[in-house]
Structures are given as C-alpha cells and as structure tokens.
Amino acid sequence: MSPQSASEVGLRPDPAFLRGLGRAFAGALIFALPMLMTMEMWQLGFYMDPLRLALLLALTVPTLVGLSRFGGLRPTARLRDDVADALVVLLVAALAATVTLYIFGILAPGMSAREIIGKIVLQTVPGSFGAMLARSQLGGEPEGEREKDPPTYWGELFLMGAGALFLSFNMAPTEEMVLIAYKMSAWQSVSLALVSLGLMHAFVYALNFKGGSARPDHIPAWSLFARFSLVGYAIVLGVSLFSLWVFGRTDGDSLKEIISASIVLGFPGAIGAASARLLL
C-alpha cells in the first residue's frame, strides 16, 4: 500500500498506472454492459451509416479529453496528458468490448470486417465514457486531493452536455424512444418538456446537494434559471437530436416526430445533465 515512486521512468509498468488501467477496464464494463447486452446496439454496429459512426468516434475523442480535464483517470498537468488518457481509455474500452462481444458470440466467423469493426467501434464509445469516469466513480485518491478548479460557465455547460450524452446514449439506440414519441399527444410532449426542464432546475440549483452548485444569494433566481437550466435544456435537446440522428432514428420522420422523440430522449438526458456534477 506504499505510494508509487514518482521517479519511475521508462517502459517498466508503474503500479499506479496498471491500477488505473484496471479501473478503466472495470468502468468500461460497468457503463457499457447494458449496451453490450442490447440487440439494437449489435445491429446498429453493422447497419448504421458508416460516416455517422466515424463522426461519432471522432467526436468522442475531444469529449473524452474534456472529461479528463474535469475528472478523468488522474490529475493531469497538461492538455497532452489529457489526450494521452483519452486514447488509453479508448483502447481499454475497445478491448473490453471485443472480449465481451466475442464471449457472447456476437462476433463470430463468417462476419465481415465491416460488421465486426462496426460492432466494436459502436460499443467503444460508451465504454470509453465509463472508463474515463471510472476514477470519479470507483474512487482513486481521496476526493479532496483531486479536487480541481471549479469549472467555468462554459465548462459547466460542457459537463451538462456530457452528462446528457452519458444517460441518453443508453436509450437512444432502442426502438422505444420513437415508439413513445408516437404514443404521446402533442400536449403530452409539451408536458414532458416542461417536467424535464423543471426537474433539471430543481435537481441541482434548488436542491443544492453534494456536488451541486450553491446558489449565490446575490444572483437572482431567474438569471440562474435562464443561464443554466434553460441553456442546459437546450443543450440536452441538441444532444438528444444528435444521438437520434447518429443512430438513424430520425431518418424519414416528420419534423413533429423528430421533435417529439428528442423531447422523449431529453427526459433522461435532462436528468443526466442535471446530475452531471454529481456523476462526472
């Protein structure tokens, strides 16, 4: 249990780094398992538009770098360390996805490279999120020591977006999002949007629990609502729309259905965004 020697240099594995890898692997599994065991995710791996899949993977890298700034595997000194962590985490997540999918028999002989690569890449995205957050979720050093600068306003918005993605990624691939949207009337959609917005506001800024932002007395409530909850919900809807689009769930649908489905997916997204400071 002795602390690692900081002078360790070279290719010799540093025990702290290996522990970090193990935690990242566990985090990838914990977060990605629901998706690794979801049929739609296997099928999307081969039938989703390859350009959208490429875009999703490309956008994952800067998102992971951003998450690494605010939490991540370890307290990082410079941006290039965050980039290194993001790439390590992607490799760990790809490995976790490959092993799990192979054991499940989802990867098998007779499948094309396109099918196998697609399935692994799609699972790597949520897995890498889980791996990056493993440190904040599974604990590393005591909280006090890794506490960083409180995020700026833009950092706060980024975290909300990441939190929305974190929660909505679980549900975006399923048929149910679109099905629920079909079943809801326009009034029910409006109600759901208002409920999401209200919950979001209540979650962090009114309840003010651990990790939530304390409401400074000199800032009026309407200003907080407009600058955080309203802008945050707009980000949530944007993230929902993007997730639905990436998975091809908006293709050929009417504008009304697309908005409705975004609101449906925005419900878990809003919870994710509001609790981002707690989760991430």
Binding site: P3, A6, E8, V9, G10, L11, R12, P13, D14, F17, Q43, F46, Y47, D49, P50, L51, L53, A54, L57, A58, V61, R69, R74, P75, T76, A77, R78, R80, D81, V83, A84, D85, L87, V88, V89, L90, L91, V92, A94, G110, M111, S112, A113, R114, E115, I117, G118, V121, E141, G144, E145, R146, E147, K148, D149, T152, G155
Partner: protein, 143 residues
C-alpha cells in the same frame, strides 16, 4: 483555461504529487489507441465512399440435408455480397416433381449484414433427395 495547483499546496503529501505527467509506457498505449481510432474512422469513411448505394446482393447455397423428427431439414447459407444490410430477409424453398410444385417452406432471417453470412434451415415433409429443390430470396426490408 488556467489550471492552478489545487490541492498540491496544502493537503497533498510530498510522495503523492497532485499532477502526474505521462509515462513512456502510457504514451505507447496511447499511440496504439490513437492508431486504432484513426484506423477505424478511416475504414468507415473508405467503406462509406466505396460501398455507397450498393443494395444487398444475396446468394443462397444448400449446406446439408438432414433427417430430423420434424421432417427433412435443408440447411442453407445466405451470403450478402452487397454494400447494405438486408433486414427481415425472406427465404423460401420449393420442392418440384416434374414441373409441379409439391411443397413449399419459408423462413425469415432477421438481419443479413453487408459482406457477411448467416445460416438457416427449411423443413420439408418430403425427402428433397427424390425431388428438385430450389431456394430463392423473396424480399427484404431496409433496417
């Protein structure tokens, strides 16, 4: 975005620096990860450019005929040489004697991805050995 040395000033013990730099081993692993990411993106883009708008092209081949308690099981392999996935692929088989159809059987394959193979089976009550067996794809939907 400036990063102050939060935590390093007071609480941290000297043996546990609050800010860690990246070890060579981690850089090696990061480089492999980076190569994989770039490779996967490049593969998907190339695939998209090369295979765009190429519909599924399915060929069926009989792999075996076995006798089962439920009848004669004709196992087949469906291979999709096209650039898109076929969903709800309908495969039917006919047994003919002379010109007349004596028995038909059908099965649906949920998904047949591009460039991939899936296996299935059709069951007949008559022995295909004595008759003419033909398999064909009836249709599919886009996923």
């Amino acid at each position: 975005m400036s990063r102050s040395d939060a935590g390093a000033s007071e609480g941290a013990t000297p043996s546990q620096p609050a800010l860690e730099s990246t070890s060579p081993l981690e850089w090696v692993i990061a480089a492999i990860g980076g190569l994989l990411v770039v490779g996967a993106i490049a593969y998907m883009v190339v695939f998209a450019v090369a295979e765009l708008e190429r519909p599924p092209a399915v060929t069926l081949s009989v792999t075996s005929v076995t006798t089962t308690p439920g009848g004669y099981m004709v196992s087949f392999r469906a291979a999709n040489a096209g650039g898109a996935t076929a969903a709800a692929l309908q495969v039917s088989g006919e047994l003919r004697k002379g010109g007349a159809v004596v028995e038909t059987s059908a099965v649906t394959i949920d998904y047949l991805p591009q460039q991939s193979e899936r296996e299935g089976g059709l069951v007949f009550t008559r022995d295909p050995e004595d008759l003419t067996l033909s398999l064909r794809v009836e249709g599919y939907s886009e996923p």
